[in-house]
Symmetry: C2
Subunit: 184 residues, 2 copies
DNA sequence: CAAGATACGCTACTTCGAGTAGCGTAATCG
DNA sequence: CGATTACGCTACTCGAAGTAGCGTATCTTG
């Protein structure tokens, strides 16, 4: 339990998180989710494929970590519930619009449907934290927040999946307005 | 161009559409989208895998055809715009809730993200017809209908993908209410 | 400066599913 | 019957995820 003093003997792990995440997003945005194979990501990161697998147990886990890094904590802004929700939605939409992020998100989401283990990772590590944050900020029951997340994320990802392009601002605005009328 | 008289010489094609579709949905609902390999579907249909590939150029194409068959034409009910939209949403939600349909839908949708050709098939053969029907019935511009489809389908699929279960009626009701307030 | 421990790079592998090729056989029309 | 077309089957190719094991590099500790 020396978590605070990780200076164990032996060669230290090289600090490749930032490099790997950047390489992942770059590969995904250039080659698409399918084209971004672990081999290519490894090459893009200047690292051996086996090294990637020493850190992440699967491609899905790598992508989820990459997304966690890309999204970071929600920055809720505003004072009343409406402002908070609007800021959250705009924030997600903007993040999903960043190069590689939307495609990577849609990609893992797809894989997760086929892979229960990945679905658990996705749900617990990516969705849960935001659900909790929103639940505290908005004071709504959890099933309501989950529906809200389904609506916002589902809509944005569906657009991304169908067209390959992120949703334009005008449509995001309509989405915000619609959600506010029901959940605000 | 004897399309109306397909009685050319030779062994006639066996009528396997219904069998194949049933086998596909059954395989997907029992084994999940990933587990429903072409081999297994072929076995479930009592047919050789190569025969499946003689009809459908890819697994994605088979699934899309299967979904087209499962969904069938929209049955819009009601007289005013609100009733029409509500009936359409309940219809989609119910269809997606049928065994195998939701998982199959979410599955192709995933694959389509990785596969531009499949995305085209999905968009043109599955989304377009319903878009046109809705556009005529509701008299809205196409970008608005597309957003509507993103919202409804995206939400339902996101729930399906995250939980593996179709959305419960209460949540569908909230979805309907919300959409009606904006698009009704 | 060793000695031990740990991580990395590399090559080669396994596994599994999509999709293909080609042969022998079954069904149908004339 | 003969031509034609489709089916079943076996055996492939191909590509990507993930693994094994060896030699080497880089640390910490004595």
């Amino acid at each position: 339990m020396q978590s605070s003093t990780p200076s164990a003997a032996g060669r230290p792990r090289s600090d490749l998180h930032a490099t790997a995440f950047a390489a992942t997003l770059r590969s995904v945005s250039e080659l698409g989710y399918a084209g971004a194979t672990m081999d290519r990501i490894a090459v893009a990161a200047g690292v051996a494929k086996t090294t990637l697998y020493r850190r992440w147990p699967s491609k899905g886990a790598l992508i989820v970590d990459c997304l966690l890094d890309a999204f970071g904590p929600v920055r809720l802004q505003g004072t009343d519930r409406g402002e908070i929700m609007a800021s959250a939605i705009h924030w997600v939409a903007a993040k999903i619009g960043e190069p590689g992020v939307g495609a990577a998100f849609a990609g893992v989401f797809s894989d997760a449907i086929n892979d229960p283990a990945l679905r658990t990772i996705l749900s617990e590590r990516l969705q849960e934290p935001y659900r909790l944050t929103l639940q505290e900020a908005l004071g709504e029951p959890d099933d309501r927040i989950l529906l809200l997340i389904d609506i916002v994320t589902g809509t944005l990802l569906h657009r991304m999946g169908m067209t390959g392009e992120p949703m334009v601002d005008a449509d995001v605005a309509v989405l915000v307005e619609m959600v506010l009328r029901t959940f605000g």
